[in-house]
């Protein structure tokens, strides 16, 4: 194997001005990538689609030698002394970590405008956002730098930028992929996700990183199927559910048109389309914005200036904490820490956190019921809009509504994928497929069929 693919990736990155003065996709490069790719030739027992492939990795996944900043001042320059399980598995499959990609700070955002290191620009229209929080990884794939990138999901952070950028984005079942080395945002929702130029790319990468990890007690010991082979299965007779809550009156007409075309494509391929209901869908965003900040307020407590990262000294311990965390965290992260601290406080816990967990269980039950009723996969739009202009959404709550179709899968723990289904006014549109827990194989089959009939590798 040669280092050609890695060399091409760096050449493409330069051509696209992927650095801070251009699209601002890349936060750090692996200067050793070319040598690593060359060395893969010598290694024994390696093969498969990822051999010597350059990979872009969201900057909240721990890598050796290259910084892991989470897009935050508080971790500026921080280099992890250990690497994430997903990184170790990719490297064992012969892949080469080429880039660390820009992101919303601590994965909190839907536009990558919340990075402490500047906004990422959409590769097709630099005046627009690429979505978020895995905006850098989605843009790296869309820009043609890499075929495969890792992102992370808490409430749609892979699927939404995948939809905006016209690439494939997978959020696996909760527990399918190890979180060891993924810097935690909301532990009960977080999952490492994959962005691919094609369904096949994404299926290949997920096949490599999935599986039980003894270092993550929430990872599940269920065999990992051959996702690439499974994706080739026919969708004839497959029951596709179309949940009415995901097609509201106000849905963007261009997106509705592309979704209708997708439904038609499924029918033509022999699938059965059935209208279904997931009645608790409307509660997903409020529930998400209680549970995710609550867990975030806890997970981000470790960034205290004591052991690593930024420390701003003050007179005494308390002043050091205040100065470090005030200076180190941006406004959105601060907002969510405060929100999360509030909902976990004595006297408010029952009214907010406990109640949100109960509603979350109802949302999960919606999915279990609909899948138990004979539906194999659900089809929905991934996002309510296409990529918006940088700076266009300034109200936090309006920004949160970007997650309206995606947060449900995280709350329920089910797998979902966004697949390009065409464009609206020149901007990519994503269609979402949601499968039962550990039903990724079926999900990939539906995605592959959709890609074959509608999608086209973007850029």
């Amino acid at each position: 194997m040669s280092a050609d693919a890695v060399r091409a990736a760096f050449a493409r990155a330069r051509e696209m001005k992927a650095g801070p003065d251009g699209l601002n996709i890349v936060l750090a490069e692996n200067s050793d990538a070319e040598r690593e790719a060359g060395a893969m030739t010598a290694a024994e027992g390696l093969g498969g689609p990822l051999l010597a492939q350059p990979i872009a990795v969201k900057d909240n996944i721990a890598t050796l030698d290259i910084p892991t900043t989470c897009g935050s001042r508080i971790l500026e320059g921080y280099v992890s002394p250990y690497e994430a399980t997903v990184i170790a598995r990719l490297r064992a499959a012969g892949a080469v970590i080429a880039f660390k990609t820009n992101m919303d700070e601590f994965a909190m955002g839907s536009s990558t405008e919340n990075s402490a290191f500047g906004t990422v620009h959409h590769p097709l229209d630099p005046s627009r956002v690429p979505g978020g929080s895995s905006g850098g990884s989605a843009a790296a794939v869309a820009a043609g730098m890499v075929r495969i990138a890792l992102g992370s999901e808490t409430g749609g952070s892979v699927r939404q930028p995948a939809a905006f950028c016209g690439v494939v984005g997978v959020k696996p079942t909760y527990g399918r992929v190890s979180r060891y080395g993924l810097v935690a945002f909301a532990s009960s929702l977080d999952q490492v996700g994959v962005l691919g130029r094609t369904v096949d790319d994404a299926a290949a990468a997920l096949g490599v990183i999935a599986g039980r990890d003894p270092l993550d007690s929430t990872s599940v010991d269920i065999p990992v199927p051959d996702y690439r082979a499974a994706s080739r299965r026919s969708v004839r007779g497959l029951v596709i559910g179309r949940p009415r809550e995901y097609f509201p009156e106000r849905l963007d007409p261009g997106i509705r048109a592309r979704c209708d075309a997708a439904i038609d494509a499924f029918r033509s391929a022999g699938a059965i389309v059935r209208d279904v209901s997931l009645p608790h869908t409307d509660y997903a965003v409020p529930v998400y914005y209680i549970i995710a900040p609550a867990e975030a307020s806890s997970n981000l407590a470790r960034f205290d200036g004591v052991r690593y990262g930024l420390r701003v000294t003050g007179s005494g311990l308390s002043a050091m904490y205040d100065a470090t965390r005030s200076r180190g965290f941006g406004p959105e992260v601060t907002r969510r820490i405060l929100l999360g601290t509030y909902v976990l406080s004595a006297g408010y816990y029952d009214a907010y956190y406990r109640r949100a967990q109960r509603v979350r269980a109802l949302i999960e039950q919606d999915f279990r019921s609909v899948f138990a009723s004979g539906v194999d996969v659900l089809f929905t739009p991934t996002t309510p809009t296409t990529a918006f202009k940088i700076g266009a959404v300034s109200d936090p709550y309006e920004m949160y509504l970007n997650d309206i179709f995606t947060a449900t899968a995280n709350l329920a723990g089910v797998p979902a994928v966004s697949v390009p289904i065409g464009s609206s006014q020149g901007l990519p549109v994503g269609g979402q497929l949601i499968a039962p827990h550990f039903g990724e194989a079926t999900m990939f089959a539906a995605a592959y069929a959709l890609e074959g009939s509608l999608g086209s590798a973007s850029a």
Binding site: A62, A84, S187, L215, S217, E295, R302, D304, V306, R307
Partner: protein, 498 residues
């Protein structure tokens, strides 16, 4: 002092929260060594340093030890318990939260009997320790040692069933015995493996309602607990007798000043913002597993007390001494069985053996702990004189081969040589075998008769009380080798003859 007389009309009500460190080889949620005494921050890894992205994995042995302790305390171990995060900011708490258990603890509802009293156990749960802050090492900085971060702890919470400092002390000693017997903790106070917080209140005798309680923290020895309880109770009584109310607050025990002082409000009022730990699934224990732990339970102190009284007819005082230290009890029992003479075994173990052990270098027992629970060494392996040697020595005494006096010298020599020689061989080598041969005994008696003619005469003419003195003199003359029974008989003959 008026406070003293006032205290007489109030009753002390105390509940204790005890933390003991478990004897696992590794930490609660990562594979780092849990050993005490390593250079600072050596036993650390991404998990216990709380590096970004690291995740906890529960130590199965810690769960087993915790369940064993809970069962030993008569608790119900629950099939499902939940870990929870307890939040507060402090530099030696790397994650900004402690993994503990909150509304679904491992076990609830036990009892610890101390004498006639039954002290109810509210709950037993598993949690992790914090690191250590060191404030006096560097002139203008604090240092943090995270070796202790993540070490597994058991928290044992009692109901407010204790009524006096001494009863609290007895409860703690009984709890310590249970921990030692089950191998759950070595309860080493110097290494901080047992720490106590006390909830204290006072009420008028006969009052059914509980008074307002304070929490006294920072108690790290049994005597500190007793002193702190007395001190805080007296303070509360003084407040109440002035007609004032006790303020609910956290107090810190200042051992140096022998007094409690209120904690600063920051040390006292925490909103810990507990919520279920999302990185760890619920801890599910099957009935089979719990039964297996119950089945592997070693004998507990109370059962051992009863058995020693029944099977060995050992005195209560000796039983207390023996049972307090499991290794001593096990050694005693092995000697009792090997010698067939429990009474002598108890005398030796509570006497010479214990005395020798106390004077011996502390490091001997430290280097070869026997209370390490599973896979412990054979009884007596931490004792210098092997079980069969001491049993042999007891047999030699009973057979009249050596005297008690000589036996002590032989024991001392056995301590010196360890198991290298038999007791008999030592007796021979030192010439300490008892002499029962009448000719030799008479020679010693004659010598005493010459040297102490006046006493000998008075004895011969009927002064029986001088017999003991004369026997002692003969023993001394023989260098401890004379058979005292035969000497007695020979002296009796002389008295009769006279």
């Amino acid at each position: 002092m008026t406070g003293h007389t006032e205290a007489g009309s109030y009753e002390m009500v105390v509940g204790l929260e005890v933390h003991v460190q478990l004897t696992t080889a590794t930490k609660a949620f990562c594979p780092c060594s849990a050993a005490y005494g390593a250079p600072p921050n050596e036993n650390t890894c991404p998990v216990c340093l709380a590096l970004p992205g690291a995740l906890p994995v529960i130590n199965a042995h810690a769960v087993e030890l915790a369940a064993r302790a809970a069962l030993a305390l008569g608790c119900t171990v629950h099939g499902t318990s939940i870990f929870a995060r307890k939040h507060y900011f402090y530099p030696d708490l790397p994650k900004g939260y402690q993994i503990s258990q909150y509304d679904r603890p491992l076990a609830t509802g036990g009892v610890l009997e101390i004498g006639e009293s039954r002290i109810r156990i509210t709950r037993v749960h598993l949690e992790e320790d914090a690191g250590k802050s060191i404030h006096d090492r560097y002139p203008s900085a604090s240092a943090i040692d995270l070796n202790r971060s993540g070490v597994p702890l058991l928290e044992i919470v009692s109901e407010p069933d204790l009524r006096s400092p001494s009863q609290a002390g007895r409860y703690l000693r009984a709890l310590r015995e249970v921990m030692l017997y089950t191998g759950v903790s070595d309860v080493n106070m110097e290494e901080g493996s047992l720490r106590v917080d006390a909830n204290v209140s006072a009420r008028r005798f006969g009052d059914a309602n509980l008074g307002t309680k304070t929490e006294v923290k920072n108690l790290n020895s049994f005597s500190n607990v007793e002193r702190a309880l007395a001190s805080e109770f007296e303070r509360q009584c003084a407040v109440l007798s002035r007609g004032q109310r006790v303020e609910q607050q956290t107090m810190l025990w200042d051992a140096a000043r022998d007094m409690v002082r209120p904690a600063r409000s920051k040390e006292a009022s925490h909103d810990y913002r507990y919520f279920p730990e999302p990185d760890l699934p619920p801890l599910v224990l099957t009935d089979d597993w719990i039964d297996r732990v119950r089945g592997s339970m070693p004998e507990l102190p109370a059962a051992r007390r009863a058995r020693y009284a029944r099977d060995y007819a050992v005195s209560d005082g000796d039983i207390d001494v023996l049972v307090a230290t499991p290794v001593l009890a096990e050694y005693f029992e092995a000697v009792a069985i090997a010698s067939g003479d429990p009474k002598a075994a108890a005398n030796w173990v509570t006497g010479e053996v214990l005395a020798e052990r106390k004077t011996a270098v502390h490091a001997i027992t430290r280097a070869s702990p026997v209370s390490s629970g599973d896979g412990a060494a054979a009884p007596g392996s931490s004792f210098p004189v092997p079980v069969d040697r001491l049993a042999e020595l007891i047999a030699l005494i009973r057979a009249g081969t050596v005297s008690h006096t000589a036996a002590k010298a032989i024991y001392a020599e056995l301590v010196r040589v360890g198991g290298a020689e038999t007791a008999k061989r030592v007796a021979e080598r030192l010439g300490l075998q008892q002499v029962g041969d009448d000719a030799a005994l008479r020679a010693w008696i004659d010598a005493v008769w010459l040297e102490h003619a006046a006493e000998a005469r008075r004895f011969e003419s009927g002064e029986q009380k001088l017999k003991g003195v004369l026997v002692g003199l003969v023993m001394k003359k023989s260098g401890g080798r004379a058979d005292p029974r035969r000497v007695n008989q020979l002296l009796d003959e002389r008295a009769v003859r006279g």
